[in-house]
């Protein structure tokens, strides 16, 4: 029978089906970090259990770490105790840890792919909703809660019901200045924050095929922002080239066997999806969000919609009040004081290159604070090797050390109340970047141009 890509991987990971339509589902790789793992380790201990397969777990410290002076002890006592707890737990339970200062440390969803831990055909979980990022490799990857983290620790399995399958097809060539981030912001603006709830999404079409792995990760990363359990993209030569030679990638004869298997991972021609969506990628423009959920996005050069009546109106009004915007208003010309380039959505080397290429020889506006937080130590090192650090410094941008940073503002990197921040992260929820902070989500290119201009502009006028 014809199968979707999702079904092929799912079926290979069914340990057994149990009554009531639930599946004991096997997890190949488990990523953990300091914020959602301590309670899971404690629960394990309280029940007298231990890790079923410690070698299938990799840990890093990313969510609450400072992005300056990482060689010194963490100042905030609560953050320090959480990171110390991770270190203790990993030592006690025999888990590989890429902690602060380690050459492989970084945001979980950046280091997994970069180390070759993420591979096609696998199943991966992490106590973090943006685990969907890894789906870019043709991997079933999704975020789980802490109770489920404990379950995977104890059994390497989860008890799941099978999600429905949706395919989102994006065909056409991208316009100048349009990036993967714009594609996904556009899709979410069309489907809404709950538009894919209950589904696992496969992205397909010529616009997806043409993307780099970094771009594909940006797309899959934000699947959760429309409620999807995860997103995935069929692996192809772009995928294999990216994985090849990475630290945990298959070697020698195993590599050939792996690729032979990976080449079978695609949706069969007549496979049936529970839902299909098609978009013309060539019509998509540079995007920005104006509200307090990622579905509230518009082409940067157009105006905020006007919503009248309906059950959504109250939430819409509340959202615009928080942002200090009016219905029907254009965002062009709005003064911006903060630009944050980072997060598991857009902190990879390709993102930093995009920013550097634009800002080279230019200066950020005087009133803008522009920080760039690389996704990992390896990205940081690569940026230094390519001289990107110097280009950024000359343009007045501050290159920090790796972590989640102002994406969720658990550390000191916060946007002040009332201030506007153009951010390359994935969530513009109220208070996400600090209490009262106002976040506008956009691509690294839009962020770079905004930092230089000091206000929102129609970026298509600024491209060489």
């Amino acid at each position: 029978m014809a199968k979707t890509l999702f079904d092929k991987i799912w079926d290979a990971h069914v340990v057994r089906e149990v009554a009531g339509g639930l599946t004991v589902f096997y997890i190949d790789r488990h990523l953990i970090h300091e914020v959602t793992s301590p309670q899971a380790f404690d629960e394990l201990t309280a029940r007298g259990l231990t890790l079923h397969r410690p070698e299938q777990i990799v840990a890093t410290a990313d969510h609450n770490v400072p992005t300056r002076y990482q060689d010194q002890p963490i100042q905030d006592p609560l953050s320090r105790s959480q990171v110390d707890k991770l270190t203790e737990n990993c030592a006690k339970f025999g888990v590989e840890l890429y902690g602060l200062g380690h050459q492989y440390q970084g945001i979980v969803h950046v280091i997994g792919p970069e180390l070759g831990i993420t591979q096609p055909g696998l199943t991966m979980v992490c106590g973090d909703s943006h685990t969907s990022t890894h789906g870019a490799f043709g991997t079933i990857a999704f975020g789980i809660g802490t109770s489920q983290v404990t379950q995977v620790m104890a059994s390497q399995c989860l008890l799941l019901d099978k999600p429905k399958r949706m395919r989102i097809t994006l065909d056409g060539d991208l316009r100048p200045g349009v990036t993967a981030k714009d594609l996904i912001l556009y899709v979410i603006s069309q489907l809404g924050t709950g538009g894919a709830t209950g589904y696992f999404v496969e992205y397909a079409g010529s616009a997806i095929r043409a993307l780099s792995m970094e771009g594909r990760m940006t797309i899959c990363n934000m699947s959760i922002e429309m409620g999807a359990r995860g997103g995935l993209i069929a692996p192809d030569a772009t995928t294999f080239d990216y994985v090849k030679g990475r630290r945990f990638a298959p070697q020698g004869e195993n590599w050939n066997r792996a690729v032979a298997y990976w080449q079978t991972l695609y949706s069969d021609e007549d496979a049936i999806f529970d839902a299909e969506q098609h978009f013309d990628a060539s019509a998509i423009q540079p995007m920005i969000t104006y509200g307090t959920n990622p579905g509230m996005g518009i082409p940067l050069a157009t105006s905020i919609p006007v919503l009248t009546g309906g059950s959504e109106a109250t939430s819409f009004d509340k959202s615009l009040r928080y942002m200090g915007f009016q219905p029907g208003e254009s965002l062009l010309g709005k003064e911006i004081n903060y630009v944050f380039i980072g997060s598991c959505t857009n902190s990879r080397i390709e993102d930093l290159r995009t920013v550097a290429a634009y800002v080279k020889g230019k200066q950020k506006a005087a009133h803008v604070e522009a920080i760039i937080v690389p996704g990992s130590k390896q990205v940081e090192q690569q940026a230094i090797a390519e001289g990107i650090d110097k280009v950024l410094a000359e343009a007045g941008f501050e290159l920090r050390e790796p972590g989640c940073s102002a994406c969720l503002a658990m550390n000191d990197d916060k946007i002040p109340a009332g201030a506007y921040c153009v951010s390359t992260s994935n969530r513009n929820f109220e208070g996400r970047q600090g209490p009262g902070a106002r976040t506008l989500l956009a691509s690294p290119l839009v962020a770079a141009i905004t930092a230089v201009e000091g206000r929102l502009v129609d970026i298509t006028q600024y491209l060489n």
Binding site: Y26, V35, R47, T146, A154, R427
Partner: protein
């Protein structure tokens, strides 16, 4: 996990759509390494002013709704991050049931693993419930998990709600998935021996 069978309680109305986990429990409160105590910071940015004083116009600070164990919320409740802390915070603050017309997937799972019942109703029923609670802040609803019914004062018929049969058993008995998964050890080990696609 605590058992859940029936509940009769007043309701706290929160008629906002897309309430995300960053509102339920802001990230800066996630630094604890235990499960307890998150209730104090539930909805912190709506509940308290910048100086830490309670916001008089936020429903959790309204004396008419104190002690109520059912939260009534707009569509797509719990979207956003996977933090189970959101479910813990609601539970720790005394809630045992959240009613909405739509729940984000991860939140729904986390709630069930915490012993908090995510009770899904239609958009129409949700609007009706808001009307009942707005008219009478002391209105009490009755939830019967075994019968899968929600009884509303003044409504002729109880509302039936859906729940996965396995999850229902777990809640009623206070079991969780770990007990079950551990019992599957033999099948899991057998499966691991025939995995051929990990290179």
């Amino acid at each position: 996990m605590e058992k859940f069978q029936t509940l009769r309680s007043g309701v706290v109305p929160l008629p906002i759509e897309n309430v995300d986990t960053d509102q339920i429990i802001p990230a800066r409160f996630l630094k604890a390494t235990t499960r307890e105590g998150f209730g104090a910071n539930l909805f912190a940015d709506w509940r308290y002013a910048a100086d830490g004083r309670p916001n008089a116009d936020f429903v959790l600070n309204d004396s008419r709704y104190q002690g109520h164990q059912i939260l009534l919320a707009g569509k797509n409740f719990g979207c956003g991050s996977s933090r189970e802390h959101a479910a813990w915070a609601l539970y720790d603050a005394g809630f045992r049931v959240v009613i909405s017309s739509y729940f984000a997937d991860i939140f729904r799972g986390n709630a069930l693993n915490t012993g908090l019942l995510p009770l899904q109703v239609s958009d129409e029923v949700l609007q009706g419930l808001f009307a009942v609670v707005t008219a009478d802040p002391r209105a009490t609803l009755a939830v019967d998990l075994q019968a899968q019914t929600l009884t509303v004062p003044g409504w002729a018929e109880a509302i039936h709600f859906e729940l996965d049969p396995y999850k229902k058993e777990c809640l009623i008995n206070g079991y969780d998935d770990i007990d079950f998964l551990i019992s599957q050890q033999a099948a899991i080990t057998a499966y691991e021996q025939q995995r051929s696609w990990v290179f």
